[in-house]
């Protein structure tokens, strides 16, 4: 079956007041009424899965997914314990949880399921599932919010969730348990004193809600960092849920939005918003951050050691995305291959270098910077192929630096370089600058050299070198 879809999305507030004390404040009651109405909407839509992304469940090791089929306990809030306790017993779709976990790993994310008796389900999830799924009629899943995750990781988390929704043909409802502005009063207040903490927070909240009312979810997602800076206490979990929710809805700006309630909870901005996937119009995007399909992360702290145990058979990984130029690849591994994270990723299935006996052959090396893929001296053309001014000297220096890193990774040194073939895309313009840098660097070592003019290189660079090293034991 492949007809799965997200049939509705909701933004809901996290604090326990809507469950435990709606009667103490008319605003809390209005939030509660909206949540009750949302529950009815979910039922009417014949949803068969509720997915909660909760900002009050932080995680460190990737994302965690609740997979206990029936988690039961009594939740007491760390701050608002005097409002009372919320006993819970939820109906979790463990099979979906495991499938999502697997799909996460397929897309390069760290992920794990948790299934432990007594696991403390967070307040945001408890409030959401208690009110939106009152008889546990619909199976649910809950996912954590990773402390360190950024937009790409959070977006890919949604895409892997969609993979499973589609594969299982589910009618899913996506929920983000979150505050808008999250600054609470730092002193105790009586319920009738509650209001949004500051005028600035209120204005921002209303701006966000205006966007959501217009269905402009992706724009809110792309404003996340700004919103985080403006109205969010810098707690560990940033304003990430809109990244997730937007990706759950195909990063669209033409949803049909409805703000069902907006009120203060101890100063924080609590809202219930319904986002219907029905198109409301054109949905032009105001902002244009790139989309992302796979997560390749920077988090290989532990993997440094693992690189040493890579099997000797050649391996080919899926390419990265890059906006200006071809896909990036992981360097291949084979007998004698030399690869380093200190050099730019290949643009195809090849290693940085390969050693045969006491000879070391480098693949063509350009100026791209490892990690960022930036081109010192600037790219020679933009994404549309229109020429840009660039600095050949800076590019040539960067090529030599990259060569040096690969040569040294192999245990050799630059004075062992014996032969270089250089490719220039514009001999007339660039030969002189390139030649000057050569004289200051490799020229001092003394390898033989051949310089060729060629039509183009695969990335928007002007110079590339093919290097051979003799490295006797």
């Amino acid at each position: 079956m492949s007809s799965g879809e997200v049939v509705a999305s909701f933004v809901v507030p996290v604090h326990p007041h809507t469950v435990l004390a709606p009667g103490q404040n008319p605003g809390w009651q209005r939030l509660r009424d909206a949540l009750d109405e949302a529950a009815q909407t979910i039922q009417d839509l014949e949803a068969d899965l509720i997915i909660v992304y909760s900002t009050t469940w932080p995680s460190i090791i990737g994302h965690q997914i609740q997979a206990d089929p029936n988690p039961e306990w009594v939740m007491v809030d760390h701050d608002f314990h005097d409002l009372g306790s919320i006993p819970y017993s939820f109906n979790i779709d463990a099979e979906f949880a495991h499938a999502w976990d697997e799909a996460n790993r397929q897309r390069g994310l760290q992920s794990r399921c948790v299934n432990y008796k007594g696991f403390p389900i967070d307040v945001g999830s408890v409030v959401a599932l208690t009110l939106l799924n009152p008889d546990n009629a619909i199976p649910a899943v809950i996912v954590s919010s990773n402390m360190y995750a950024n937009r790409s990781e959070t977006t890919v988390l949604a895409k892997s969730c969609l993979d499973v929704i589609k594969a299982q043909g589910r009618r899913a409802v996506a929920i983000t348990a979150m505050s808008l502005s999250n600054r609470m009063f730092t002193d105790f207040i009586s319920p009738d004193e509650d209001k949004i903490h500051s005028l600035k927070d209120d204005e921002w909240n209303r701006k966000i809600l205006e966007f959501l009312e217009q269905g402009r979810l992706e724009d809110v997602g792309q404003l996340s960092r700004t919103i985080q800076q403006q109205i969010r206490v810098q707690k560990v979990v940033a304003f990430k849920p809109m990244w997730w929710l937007s990706a759950m809805n195909g990063n669209r700006n033409d949803l049909t939005g409805r703000v069902m309630a907006y009120e203060a909870i101890h100063g924080a901005g609590g809202a219930v918003v319904h986002l219907d996937p029905t198109s409301s119009g054109v949905g032009d995007k105001e902002y244009d951050e790139d989309d992302v399909e796979y997560y390749h992360g920077e988090r290989d702290v532990l993997d440094i050691v693992e690189e040493e145990v890579v099997e000797s058979q050649p391996t080919v990984d899926a390419p990265d995305e890059t906006s200006n130029g071809p896909d990036l690849w992981e360097p291949t591994e084979a007998k004698g291959s030399v690869n380093t994270t200190a050099a730019p990723k290949p643009v195809g299935a090849y290693p940085h270098a390969r050693r045969v006996g006491d000879m070391l052959f480098l693949s063509g090396v350009g100026p791209r910077q490892p990690g960022t893929n930036a081109i010192p001296g600037g790219p020679i053309h933009d994404e549309n192929g229109d020429p840009l001014p660039y600095d050949i000297k800076a590019q040539t220096h960067a090529v030599v630096d990259n060569v040096k890193r690969i040569v040294e990774e192999a245990g050799a040194s630059m004075d062992q370089v014996v032969d270089v073939t250089t490719f220039l895309v514009d001999m007339k313009r660039d030969f002189q600058g390139y030649n000057e840098v050569w004289a200051e660097t490799l020229g001092k070592v003394g390898p033989t050299r051949t310089t060729l003019a060629i039509d183009a290189l695969p990335t928007p660079i002007a110079v590339e070198m093919k290097v051979i090293v003799h490295m006797p034991e």
Binding site: S59, H81, G118, Y148, T186, V301
Partner: protein, 300 residues
């Protein structure tokens, strides 16, 4: 009544990994050891205080996070199962602890009189946070002393490290005042790590020590700098540099525990004893004791 006294103050971090590695009967998961440097550090701390008599432990844990004021456990007894929401694979601990409610209330009342927003936590369903349980276990595995448990007010997140320190220094002063007025002999514990940048991946065997190291050189330098100040009796410099340390080392001192501890100890100018240092999934952790009993003359 004799004047109460703080017999020792300790930095006593709470990564659940340490309890996991000890395999106590209360914890469900089973480990093949790990993080011995720190566990030996706790052993030395316990030995160092073995002959010192005391009535209660006062502990501030950064994992009972309160945004509205500072809270105190306010019932005599708590028991239940503590599952770490971040490392549930390592920590599922059956706890059973007693609270010195009288002393907790005394500190609460002093803090209130000083103008701090405070609250007693009297909901019997409340689950004690895993930071408290972990430090409580490692410091006193027998659980034979009552605790006073103080929440961590998140004023660093809400305002700044400077505001957090103002609050925590005040809270430290009233803690000391209440302890002295109580006539009790007390150990105070700040339950936090130093540098606090985690790895975001976990090795197949979590206790595989070949994978354990500090996340970065800069974190190491900060940890050593703070430890140097501790060992050379320069607590004031720790308070002075707290904003930079907390920001640059992403230190868990953001929860206020260390500032509160140093203030409670009256900003000691005598050397602390370093019992151990080690990293846990990349974060820096030190077990440190200020042996107040040897430096503060009891006026009893």
């Amino acid at each position: 009544m004799a004047k109460g006294q703080i017999v020792a103050g300790c930095l006593a971090p709470h990564p659940p990994h340490l309890v996991y590695a000890e395999n106590p009967p209360q914890n469900e998961p089973v480990a093949e050891g790990g993080w011995e440097q720190l566990r030996w550090g706790y052993e030395r701390l316990r030995a160092s205080l073995a002959d010192i008599d005391y009535d209660a432990i006062v502990l501030l844990s950064p994992h009972w996070q309160t945004y509205v004021g500072t809270h105190f456990l306010g019932l005599d007894h708590f028991e239940g199962l503590s599952v770490d929401p971040i490392f549930p694979n390592l920590f599922r601990y059956h706890y059973n602890m007693n609270v010195d409610v009288e002393l907790a209330k005394a500190i609460h009342d002093e803090a209130e009189a000083a103008g701090l927003p405070v609250k007693m936590m009297e909901n019997p369903d409340f689950r004690v946070d895993y930071g408290t349980i972990t430090t409580g276990h490692l410091f006193n595995p027998d659980w034979d002393k009552p605790l006073v448990v103080i929440s961590s007010n998140r004023s660093t997140a809400y305002y700044s490290v400077e505001v957090m320190q103002e609050i925590m220094i005040e809270l430290g002063k009233v803690t000391r005042k209440a302890i002295e007025a109580s006539g009790k002999r007390v150990v105070v514990l700040a339950s936090n790590s130093l540098s606090h940048r985690h790895f975001t991946t976990e090795s197949e065997v979590p206790e595989d020590m070949s994978k354990e190291h500090i996340t970065s050189h800069a974190m190491h330098l900060w940890d050593m700098r703070i430890i140097d100040y501790m060992r050379s009796g320069q607590a004031q410099r720790i308070l002075d540099e707290m904003p930079e340390f907390t920001e640059q080392a992403i230190a868990e001192s953001d929860g206020g525990g260390l500032s509160w501890l140093l203030s409670t100890l009256d900003v000691p100018d005598y050397p602390a004893i370093l019992h151990g240092y080690g990293t846990i999934i990349g974060t820096g952790n030190a077990v440190v004791e200020w042996p107040c009993h040897a430096h503060e003359v009891s006026e009893a």
